[in-house]
């Protein structure tokens, strides 16, 4: 019986619950650029910049990656080391694992800290809804979508949304500083 009580105690401590506002509650199955199946919480425990894009995008999406990079460079080293990047495709038909991998290589992304992911169409809509990203498929195959970068804290709570493109958003950096400070304690 003592063992049973011990197992019970284990049950209470091992299980980990998402806080009420965490987007990690979303049950979407992602595939990363290596084809590994992931959940939304690829980078749980880290501050994450998450955004949505499509690989064949000519204009704003390359700029989106540049913006993330600029943010990465502008962050102080301690925060930069913690920061992770999650880019989810809104175009699962064309953004195959191979294409995501090729994109990661051509943009020379450090794939230990950057994840390019695809998911099913229904999950795309839910993730976009959660992140407040609007998108619409165009007849010729491209997409209209709003370019919003969302900062998540270690538990997946939305901390800040930025729609600034082209350079590091100073307010996003401020939010990142606020996020990284308490996470060391919380984790």
């Amino acid at each position: 019986m003592k063992r049973l009580l011990f197992a019970l105690l284990l049950l209470a401590t091992v299980v980990r619950a998402d806080s009420a506002g965490s987007i990690y509650q979303l049950e979407a199955a992602l595939a990363d650029q290596s084809g590994v199946l992931r959940r939304m919480d690829v980078y749980r425990g880290h501050p994450v910049l998450v955004t949505m894009f499509y690989g064949s995008c000519p204009m704003a999406c390359p700029l989106l990656i540049d913006t993330l990079r600029a943010t990465e460079r502008a962050a102080p080293p301690g925060e930069r080391a913690q920061l992770r990047f999650l880019l989810i495709s809104i175009d699962p038909e064309r953004d195959t694992v191979a294409n995501l991998n090729a994109l990661g290589e051509s943009r020379k992304l450090d794939l230990s800290r950057w994840t390019l992911a695809r998911t099913d169409a229904a999950s795309v809509r839910k993730i976009a809804a959660v992140l407040g990203i609007q998108y619409r498929k165009l007849p010729e195959g491209g997409y209209n979508h709003s370019s919003i970068v969302t900062l998540l804290d270690a538990n997946g709570e939305i901390t800040y949304r930025s729609s600034a493109l082209g350079q590091a958003d100073p307010e996003l950096l401020t939010a990142l500083r606020r996020t990284t400070q308490p996470t060391r304690v919380a984790r």
Binding site: M1, R3, L4, L5, A7, L8, L11, A12, V14, V15, R16, A17, D18, Q25, E27, F53, Y54, C57, M59, A60, C61, L64, A122, R125, K126, A128, A129, V130, G132, I133, Q134, Y135, R136, K137, L138, G142, Y143, N144, H145, S146, S147, S163, L165, G166
Partner: protein, 305 residues
């Protein structure tokens, strides 16, 4: 792991049955004064069953994303399990008199039974969960007066989840509009001024007061009812209404905000009702709810065998 959910659940339930049965037998035997009930092999069998039971429970919690101390019914299960264990130890060995042991044994069996009803109902009140329904105090109960009215106050997430649970989905915006363009006689009545006016008359009515009943309007040429004149409805791609909140110039798409060409352009400006629906949908975020916004589900038509 989700693909093994039914198997894990079967293991869990089987372990629950075995554990309960073993306790029932051992309790009865102990109280009848038989010493074999506390013999080492039986004790180890009990540990084995209970470990299997808890391992399966942990796996189920992970698969379902439902956790004790987050989801009330699981919290209740864990707390009751602790009570059951304590009562169990008193029933089998700790109880100082036979009377205490028998009482603890019976109480433990009652708790055991109640835990099962909690598990089956996924509700902290277990078999008593139906009582609020009988008294009609549940917030999910629409009440007699709303029984035939459309369900409103649902977010896009809730509407999507409901349709998914039915094996369906929300209709897409163009599908909804395509079907909604039909009058009772014509499939495309958009050029019928009388039909357009009829719809605008509804939009000009105040949204206050009770909603009409579902099924109260005439079916259109496709046999679909209530597209107009009852409520606003969610669509699957409600997040795709790329109408800028302050874009008075139709053509100047903000290329920096929107990756791609530009926002929706409207070709049939005389179809004011469509514009109103776009305005309504684009003003709603997925988590918003409204007293006049509901939904319907759609699914692909399976043709042939």
């Amino acid at each position: 792991m989700i693909e093994f959910y039914p198997q894990i659940k079967s293991v869990h339930i089987a372990a629950v049955m075995l554990s309960g049965l073993l306790f029932l037998i051992r309790g009865a035997a102990v109280n009848a004064g038989m010493t074999w009930a506390m013999a080492a092999p039986l004790r180890y069998l009990s540990y084995l069953i209970d470990t299997t039971l808890l391992t399966a429970a942990l796996m189920l919690a992970t698969v379902l994303h439902q956790y004790p101390f987050v989801h009330a019914w699981l919290t209740v299960k864990v707390v009751l399990l602790a009570i059951y264990i304590v009562l169990g130890t008193f029933a089998l060995k700790r109880g100082s008199t036979r009377k205490i042991r028998v009482l603890c044994w019976l109480a433990a069996l009652l708790v055991y039974g109640f835990i099962i009803t909690v598990a089956r109902a996924h509700h902290p009140a277990g078999l008593f969960a139906a009582i609020p329904d009988l008294l009609r105090t549940s917030t999910l109960d629409p009440g007699q007066e709303n029984r035939h009215r459309p369900v409103v106050h649902v977010s896009w997430f809730a509407a999507t989840a409901y349709c998914e649970a039915q094996g369906a989905r929300l209709p897409r915006w163009h599908e909804w509009e395509y079907v909604a363009a039909a009058s009772d006689r014509q499939r495309d009545a958009r050029n019928d001024p009388a039909w357009r006016q009829q719809i605008l008359n509804w939009y000009s009515r105040s949204g206050r007061g009770p909603l009409p009943d579902v099924g109260g309007t005439a079916a259109n040429a496709y046999g679909i009812q209530d597209l107009h004149g009852v409520i606003w409805e969610w669509v699957e791609d409600a997040g795709g209404m790329l109408v800028s909140s302050d874009n008075r110039e139709q053509s100047s798409a903000d290329v920096m905000r929107f990756c791609g060409e530009g926002a929706l352009t409207l070709e049939q400006k005389e179809n004011y009702a469509t514009l109103m629906r776009i305005a309504m949908l684009s003003s709603m975020k997925a988590r918003y709810t409204s007293a006049t916004m509901g939904f319907r589900c759609a699914s692909e038509v399976r043709t042939g065998s």
